[in-house]
């Protein structure tokens, strides 16, 4: 087993946790957390690929690293927007979830 396999499996585990959270969470902040965990899993997959066969003198592949940097900025933009939206919804209606009956 190599550290590539460990981290790729880790990416899979983060996806499991994130997707499960996104499917079950009701509170908007929890949903946003779950989606960010999902994106962490995707980024981990890309960086594991970047470092694949590490130990080679050349070092890691810079392309996936640049892609993940872009991805991190995109993720924080969306997170910020969605949080602002969640706060606005809460301020207007007191609701904290998407469901009709609003249990949380």
């Amino acid at each position: 087993m190599s550290s590539y396999v460990v981290y790729v499996v880790g990416a899979g585990l983060l996806l499991v946790v994130g997707v499960h959270g996104a499917l079950t969470a009701r509170h908007l902040v929890r949903l946003i957390l779950a989606l960010n965990v999902m994106s962490g899993g995707v980024f981990l997959a890309l960086i594991a690929i970047s470092a694949r066969g590490a130990g080679s003198a050349a070092g890691p592949d810079p392309v996936p690293q640049a892609l993940v940097l872009t991805g991190i900025v995109v993720a924080v933009s969306i997170t910020a927007f969605v949080l602002a939206l969640a706060r606005r919804i809460h301020a207007l209606s007191g609701r904290t979830s998407l469901s009709e009956e609003d249990l949380e």
Binding site: L28, V42, L46, I49, P64, I89
Partner: protein, 493 residues
């Protein structure tokens, strides 16, 4: 020349954001000049084939390339025309926004122009990761536009839309990661030559395909669309239902017939087609049940998205059958894209017409629009002509699209798609005539309704889009010839 179609909308968006009073002028001028450029590009591509533009001069695979073929050119042209009409319409729509307090127009103009820029990036890009960034830019601008109507319903709809789109983006990016891990490149043309049937490629295709189906709102992944499109301000609904949906469909079609063409199996094609059939039937039935005009039109979009995906099984079987491409593949390709552009024009016209009615009446309850044809005849014409295209009545663009799809379905022996196309047409006629019947009704004429004044430009903007969707059915040769430039599945196409 190609890159100016990306630069102008973004430049316009920044200007409209900085100096808000110039926004309407910037938008109309930008849309007109991009429409002219797109028309020139279309002629160029038609005469001398697809063009490639290397950003920064680096070239693929190290850099990012733009590729303009017939499909790109026609999409660019369609979106410029829609943006032009929507801009003209929005000048009237945002007329009273001149006060010193914040008003929705301030968000509308920059976001709409950037949304359009992102679409143009999407239509030209030949790089899977660059397409991811374009999708994100497009989605975030779209959600930001939905919010502008304020109100709890719009905010909740925007939230649902944003979360669904964010999840879809992650799936797409995961697919990109797997593709890069497997083949070490991101350019579409390069990937198309190296992708081979193996587990990683199938998983990447499923992730990317699924993500795009969610973003296109194909049944049963349409749950976020009706509320978002109905709750948005009318010019935004027009942009979303006509262009944003088409943008993610475009990408699906591009990747299915490009990068993933060697691994697209007929069963997967039939599955996507079945979802499309489900969308047509479910969306149309839901549209028939709606009491509110804008919700009805939004469900009509759910249904019409289904038609977009009917060519997929036909194209897939054409690629695996000897002579299939010539016998029905080209018809399916042309029919699908013809439907996309006819629907884009007609649906934008319809949402703009609905917006005019809401503007005049203050409500969009379908029972309330009784007899409105007397006061808003041009808007009623716009709705009716756009409806003809959606139903597929001759001589509209929708008729040509359905004709091509029907002949492709019969030529391939997959007659079941023809049944769906015809049934969908009948159901569409049902909900369109329900509304038209109300508009033309004489029942409510005893006590004429008090209407707010509507700027003429709003009425004519919707009308001209509707007429454009009709003209597509009268001038068929040129668009079809253009679509043959860069045809993905015919040797030397």
């Amino acid at each position: 020349m190609i890159v100016t179609m990306v630069l102008l909308p973004f430049l316009g968006g920044c200007l409209a954001f900085l100096l808000r009073r110039t926004a309407p002028f910037v938008a109309v001028l930008g849309a007109a000049s991009v429409a002219a450029t797109a028309a020139m590009l279309a002629v160029g591509v038609w005469r001398s084939g697809p063009r490639i533009y290397a950003i920064g001069g680096w070239g693929a695979p190290i850099g990012i390339e733009l590729v303009a073929d017939g499909l790109s050119a026609i999409m660019l042209l369609t979106s410029a025309v829609v943006v032009l009409a929507v801009s003209v319409y929005s000048i009237g729509y945002h007329e009273h926004d001149d006060s010193d307090a914040w008003h929705p127009g301030e968000g509308f103009w920059p976001l709409a122009l950037i949304l359009w820029g992102a679409l143009n990036v999407l239509f030209l890009s030949a790089d899977v990761f660059n397409l991811y960034v374009a999708l994100e830019l497009m989605t975030l601008a779209a959600v930001g536009l939905v919010v502008l109507s304020g109100g709890e319903a719009a905010l909740m709809a925007a939230m649902r839309y944003a979360l669904a789109a964010f999840a879809a983006s992650m799936m797409y990016l995961l697919g990109v990661a797997i593709l890069y891990g497997a083949y070490g490149r991101l350019d579409l043309d390069g990937l198309a030559t190296v992708v081979s049937p193996e587990p990683a490629a199938f998983v990447a295709a499923a992730l990317i395909g699924g993500a795009l189906l969610l973003k296109t709102a194909l049944f049963p992944l349409h749950f976020w669309l009706p509320r978002a499109h109905a709750a948005a301000p009318a010019p935004v609904s027009a942009l979303l239902s006509s262009l944003v949906v088409t943008g993610s469909f475009y990408l699906f079609l591009r990747l299915w017939t490009g990068v993933f063409s060697t691994i697209a199996v007929p069963a997967a094609g039939q599955f996507v087609g079945a979802l499309g059939a489900g969308a047509i039937l479910w969306g149309s039935l839901q549209a028939l049940r709606q009491q509110h005009l804008k919700v009805m039109i939004a469900y009509s979009t759910v249904a019409q998205v289904g038609y977009l995906f009917l060519p997929i099984p036909l194209l897939t079987s054409a690629a695996t059958t000897p002579d299939g491409a010539l016998l029905w593949g080209i018809d399916a390709w042309n029919g699908g894209i013809y439907h996309a552009i006819s629907h884009a024009l007609a649906k934008a016209a319809m949402f703009l017409a609905a917006g005019t009615i809401v503007h005049a009446l203050g409500s969009d309850r379908i029972v309330g629009i009784s007899g409105i044809a007397r006061q808003l005849p041009i808007t009623t014409y716009a709705f009716g002509i756009a409806g003809m295209t959606l139903i597929g009545l001759p001589p509209s663009g929708g008729f040509v699209a359905k004709w091509l799809l029907l002949s492709a379905a019969f030529a391939s022996g997959q007659w079941w798609w023809a049944v769906v196309i015809l049934a969908g047409g009948v159901l569409t006629a049902g909900y369109i005539f329900l509304v038209l019947g109300q508009e033309l009704s004489l029942a409510g004429t005893d006590q004429p309704v008090e209407l707010s004044k509507v700027p003429r430009s709003m009425e004519y903007a919707a009308f001209s889009l509707a007429v454009a969707s009709l003209l597509l059915g009268l001038r068929v040769i040129e668009p079809i010839a253009l679509l043959q430039a860069g045809l993905p599945f015919v040797e030397g196409g």
